[in-house]
């Protein structure tokens, strides 16, 4: 029998000979072979994410930043608030890698200190948002009916409140500190997450596997924990990733207008504000470090969030 040339699919190099007219043996195994091993949802998502160079770059940068936030101030010989007035506005050197600021403080040390603040505020605010959002949105979506509509009415009204103005007002009252910033950001921030979770829950609630566990008499809380949560994780993780940069922005913004971390403590917002005086005299490095790191950090979170969105929900891929 002539061999089949698989490189030319639409041609038929085989001569039609009489002996080919016999019944074909049924090959059961061949019919049931699945061509590709199926991957789990998370493994599959991870493989897609790995292919996204921008998102992976963001992830690597964030890991680097986290390490520097932890170890940066430790490896630096200078203290974060150590003033050295005669040496103010020193350009970058072996002694001061990122130069010094208006009070002669080491910008390198202050930058990583600022990273601690930014990452801490961003992650805490986002986690609290997610926590409240999951509980509120989960209950609202799962209970449905009148509970849902009154809970959503509240969300609708809160959604209309101007977020940063309320945060400013709260901080004026509570007094600026790390804890109050996180509280103020969370008070208004959970609303968006609650909406997302509710939407997801509503969509998934009627899937057959949930109905199935309900018919087996599973308790509400158990259904939420075992069935709904794993399935709503994708959008929540994406939203979490995208909430962090907006919290980082809010912290820096508040510090910039004097309502956040108070000088002389270092935060990227405070450092940018300090740099305002320096740029007119041409001492660019004072601005460069906080401006660069806050922007790149937000960029990294944003591209990672986008990448996660593509990876976790391939249907939405554009």
């Amino acid at each position: 029998m002539a061999s089949v040339d698989t490189n030319q699919p639409d041609r038929s190099p085989v001569e039609v000979t009489d002996d080919l007219f016999r019944w074909k043996e049924r090959d059961k195994e061949a019919a049931e072979t699945v061509s590709r091993p199926s991957l789990s949802y998370w493994k599959d998502a991870w493989q897609r994410l790995r292919k996204n160079k921008l998102a992976m770059g963001g992830l690597i940068f964030l890991i680097f930043l986290t390490l520097m936030a932890i170890f940066g101030p430790i490896i630096s010989p200078h203290d974060v608030n150590e003033q050295d007035l005669p040496n103010q506005y020193q350009p970058p050197s072996a002694e001061h890698w990122f130069g010094t600021d208006s009070a002669g403080r080491d910008v390198f040390t202050r930058t990583w200190y600022g990273a601690r603040i930014s990452l801490f505020v961003g992650l805490m605010a986002a986690l609290i948002d997610v926590g409240i959002g999951i509980i509120y949105g989960g209950i609202s979506g799962y209970k449905g009916g009148r509970t849902d509509s009154s809970m959503m009415r509240i969300v609708e009204i809160l959604y209309g409140l101007p977020y940063l103005l309320i945060v400013i007002l709260l901080l004026v009252v509570l007094g600026p500190s790390l804890a109050t910033i996180i509280i103020a950001l969370s008070v208004t921030g959970w609303v968006g997450m609650a909406r997302i979770v509710r939407g997801q829950v509503l969509q998934i609630k009627n899937y057959e596997f949930v109905l199935a566990s309900q018919s087996f008499g599973a308790k509400t809380f158990r259904i939420i924990r075992k069935n709904l949560l794993p399935n709503t994780m994708g959008p929540i993780i994406v939203s979490l990733t995208l909430t962090v940069p907006s919290a980082i922005f809010a912290e820096a913004f508040l510090s910039f207008i004097g309502l956040g971390i108070q000088a002389p403590h270092a935060s990227w917002g405070v450092m940018t504000n300090d740099a305002l005086g320096a740029i007119l005299s041409g001492d660019w490095w004072v601005l460069f470090a906080p401006a660069f790191f806050i922007s790149v950090t937000m960029f990294a979170f944003n591209v990672l969030g986008d990448g996660l969105q593509d990876a976790l929900d391939p249907k939405l891929r554009k």
Partner: protein, 336 residues
């Protein structure tokens, strides 16, 4: 009868992330003036791609007509420039889509959507356009046409919307109407009404219709001829009678056994086992081999010859070969 459309050796491919999909792999058929041809097949067999290719509405990239000709009223559409195609679309060839819920723009009134094709192609006044629009709404059986013109799609039922879509398709008086699953998204009672409307329209306007469907019930009602498509090829073609009562291809026979019919008495419905082949790497031989109860060694290796049974009936199947007929006769009784 005059042929208004002749498709020869049509190939359409899609270049995607995972490779090249050969969606249509050498399709031939023709259509006479005023005739209804049904193209029948499972989803993914290439029937919608074929109809989009005729309209040259295949998104390029990723899609491409890689070979073949589409001759419409003497012109090869595969070579027509886009500007000329725009004059043909909606005027000479029109199209009806599957889901009337999504085929109408939610933010424009029925009147705007109905008249815009007319305003684009014919140099007529607003009043004349409106008069023509009202005529069309009357033809497709819409009550209170005057009022409907000012309404938005969401204010109408699914059946009404599909009538509107049909009116839009017919407003420039086309010679060919391509209906892609026109009743699939509708309730059964509405389906029957829409099919009656097609018959009425064909009587009044003499338009030729290509009906794309997976539903043999729809075909039985209004088709003159039927082409059965499988894995990007037309595997059998014939008049309605020939396909329904003298089907030769095992796939066509399988399709007919899998739908309920009124003249079935005590027969069970039998589904066709398995799934169609992957069109990333279509088989060299007959694509139906893996699911075919009469599969022979030859089927896997060589694509069957095209055999004409009558002037109108043709089939691509190795069972038409003398040697296969002998084999069948010899193994009668042992093979079910």
């Amino acid at each position: 009868m005059e042929k208004i459309l002749e498709v020869e050796n049509l190939h359409v491919t899609f270049t995607t992330y995972g490779g090249t999909v050969k969606a249509v792999r050498g399709v031939d058929f023709h259509l006479h003036r005023g005739e209804t041809l049904a193209i029948v097949g499972e989803s993914g067999c290439g029937k919608s791609v074929t109809s989009n290719a005729i309209m040259r509405l295949i998104p390029d990239p990723p899609g491409k007509i890689s070979a073949g000709t589409i001759t419409f009223q003497g012109k090869d559409l595969t070579k027509a420039p886009e500007k000329e195609m725009r004059r043909i679309r909606g005027v000479d060839i029109s199209m009806i889509f599957q889901d009337p819920m999504t085929a109408l723009n939610p933010t424009l009134t029925i009147g705007t959507q109905l008249m815009e094709g007319l305003r684009e192609h014919r140099n007529i006044s607003g009043d004349e356009a409106k008069k023509r629009a009202l005529e069309m709404l009357d033809l497709v059986g819409i009550p209170n046409p005057e009022e409907r013109l000012k309404q938005y799609p969401h204010q109408l039922s699914g059946g009404m919307r599909q009538r509107i879509v049909i009116a839009i398709a017919l407003i420039c008086d086309p010679d060919l109407l391509i209906a892609d699953e026109p009743t699939t998204a509708l309730d059964v009672t509405i389906q029957a009404q829409i099919l009656e409307l097609f018959e009425k329209i064909q009587e009044t306007t003499g338009v030729a219709i290509i009906l794309i469907t997976h539903d043999l019930g729809v075909v039985a009602k209004i088709a003159d001829r039927i082409a059965v498509m499988y894995a990007g090829k037309i595997i059998e073609e014939g008049t309605k009678r020939e396909i329904f009562y003298e089907a030769e291809h095992p796939y066509t026979q399988g399709l007919l056994k899998s739908v309920p019919r009124l003249d079935m008495q005590g027969e069970a419905l039998t589904p066709i086992d398995g799934t169609p082949p992957d069109l990333f790497s279509p088989p060299i031989g007959c694509p139906f081999t893996a699911r075919c109860p009469f599969a022979m060694e030859v089927c896997d290796k060589v694509y069957p010859e095209h055999s004409s049974l009558t002037e109108t009936h043709s089939v691509d199947c190795w069972m038409q070969d003398e040697r296969a007929k002998q084999l069948l006769a010899a193994s009668a009784g042992t093979k079910n």
